[in-house]
Symmetry: C2
Subunit: 330 residues, 2 copies
DNA sequence: TATGAATGTGAAATCGATTTCAGTTATTTC
DNA sequence: GAAATAACTGAAATCGATTTCACATTCATA
């Protein structure tokens, strides 16, 4: 069923059908009714691709995520889809599986008019990214990393990291192990580490390299890094930069016979859904990822509608979730 | 940059540019090179919407999920995107947030030529769904529920449920509580219950209504339903039809002072990522959701390419994960 | 009742690609 | 060397909607 067919059935021209559908221009009441009747009868749905071509907008938002099957990414996508829906938009998923080449390909692909705006969950932003992003004609919002000249939404990683470390210190901990990730990821790898380091120094404690380990993002890495630290020193608390790392670390501790939190306290960052159901419930930082996703989408729409200018950096809030995995040893 | 501009720059007609881009038809080598040179120079990306309109295919797959922010859904989407990518396809997400109206709207929307195929993660399939699905011109695959006349991919819920119950019985359990969900969800609400009931009967045990409770899908419901059962009876084992319900049940037990698994064993279904990191690690059934997603996508492509006919019902495998949450009391 | 404004309508151009069709040039084949 | 075939090319139609433009009708106002 094309607009032509509807026009014929209703005894009008395609132009009139279009005017009825989009509610613009003059149409005599009787013709409008006739058209609406036919539309209802045949359950006519206009071809959205033809619409997109003519209107030069696709009513689609692209979301580039490093790994859709993670809790963080899926929460962000959930937020984005919610806002998109409210604007009558669809969401196109680009799942890069942490492949930088893919990320760049998707940026290129999404730019050639197939979406009206892009939300990118950033991990590592390289010069190649910037090169492609410079040529982009559609608005883009980067989530999770600050990129100069581009609209970014970041979590207050520094402050969260600092406060978490300060909390451990306030509970009497001095030997606080740090389990982090590669510096390629600015937000998680660099900023969270800086928060930890600065806090340690500000409180007049020593930074001890032997208490620090760097690895990947998964639970298993947390396990291994914890063991690596335990070979040299036994901390009273462990600060892992993600909840998954914290879970891995906890298991390494338990396997070595240490009790959590009686012997060693453990904290993470992220507040995954199950954090409070772990045993012991994990002390962590709650980032509102769904809210970030919503915010990112709102901002993209602002950029699309030109009610906001490119280049801002917004920050989302966080909340320290104090749970049983930390013991006061003061 | 349109194909016309490229044509002008290369000193040929748009038709020739198209022939070069799509590698069909005759083009003299020198012209081909000239065109390719220009394409590379200006980094020309053809407008995919115009392509879609002319070619009558969008190279997009629609995925309808009840709630993208769940582990199950995001794993399925991950599988679908992987296969889609391999076929040069994009994935459009339709997140219904468990709203049936939305599900039907999306079915309608996706059908009008904006996607070439649909994967729907089904929960409850109503007559309204069927009515809309009957009119669909694009292939659809339903994941998680069997729908007569439509291609479905289901998890072997009956067998999984039966085997899990049988395992508990084999460990000496006789009073096995059941925490289920509404029968609106055929697969989880009806089939898993039947697996439990049949297994109980087949082993000559009594079905005890007081050991059974039905509720929603969330952790909290698991907690409440467990408490409801505990008011009447104290089982030696609890079979919850999802891992989240099992987690809720475990917490209810712990809060009431029972130890798991020393006093009461607990099992779930689904094998969420953290199941093995819970304390105690949860005995559960591992469904390969990502694999199901992949399979669903493959089947959609088969339907698109007409190398498979509509109406089949495929079944995915599962694996019983025996972990510490079950105690042998024989 | 004339005259301008408001209302109403459809033919045709447009969005950016693909493809048919008709015509031209090069290459075989007899 | 003529005829048949293959290689090549671009103008124009097409996909299905929207919108301009030109024209027709109704309505209000002096």
């Amino acid at each position: 069923m094309r607009i032509k067919d509807i026009a014929k059935l209703a005894g009008v021209s395609p132009a009139t059908v279009s005017r009825v559908m989009n509610n613009n221009g003059y149409v005599k009441d009787e013709k409008r009714e006739a058209v609406l009747k036919v539309i209802k009868e045949v359950d006519y749905q206009p071809n959205s691709i033809a619409k997109s071509l003519k209107n030069q907008k696709s009513h689609m938002l692209g979301v580039i995520v490093p790994k859709i099957s993670t809790e963080t990414a899926s929460r962000v996508v959930s937020g984005v889809t919610e806002v998109a829906k409210a604007h009558g938009y669809q969401v196109l998923i680009a799942n890069t599986d942490l492949d930088i080449e893919e990320e760049i390909n998707y940026l290129k692909f999404l730019s050639n008019k197939s979406v009206d705006g892009i939300v990118m969950m950033g991990t590592e932003i390289t010069d190649r990214h910037l090169e492609v992003m410079d040529k982009l004609t559609v608005p883009i919002v980067i989530l999770g990393q600050e990129v100069f000249g581009y609209t970014s939404i970041i979590h207050n990683d520094y402050e969260a990291s600092y406060q978490m470390t300060a909390y451990l210190i306030s509970q009497g901990h001095k030997a606080i192990a740090f389990i982090g990730v590669s510096e390629k990821d600015k937000a998680v790898g660099v900023i969270r580490k800086n928060g930890y380091l600065d806090c340690i120094k500000d409180h007049g404690l020593e930074v001890d390299e032997e208490l620090m380990a760097i690895g990947d993002f998964d639970i298993d890495t947390g396990y291994q890094m914890m063991n690596k630290v335990l070979e040299k020193k036994i901390p009273t608390a462990v600060y892992a930069v993600t909840d998954h790392l914290a879970i891995g670390a906890t298991h390494a501790l338990l396997d070595k016979g240490y009790r959590v939190p009686e012997d060693v306290s453990v904290v993470g960052i992220g507040d995954i859904k199950l954090a409070e159901y772990l045993n012991p419930p994990l002390t962590t930082v709650h980032y509102t990822f769904k809210t970030s996703g919503k915010m990112a989408a709102e901002v993209v729409f602002d950029l699309i509608h030109r009610v906001r200018t490119k280049g801002e950096c917004l920050m989302t809030t966080f909340e320290l979730k104090k749970r049983a995995s930390v013991k006061n040893i003061r």
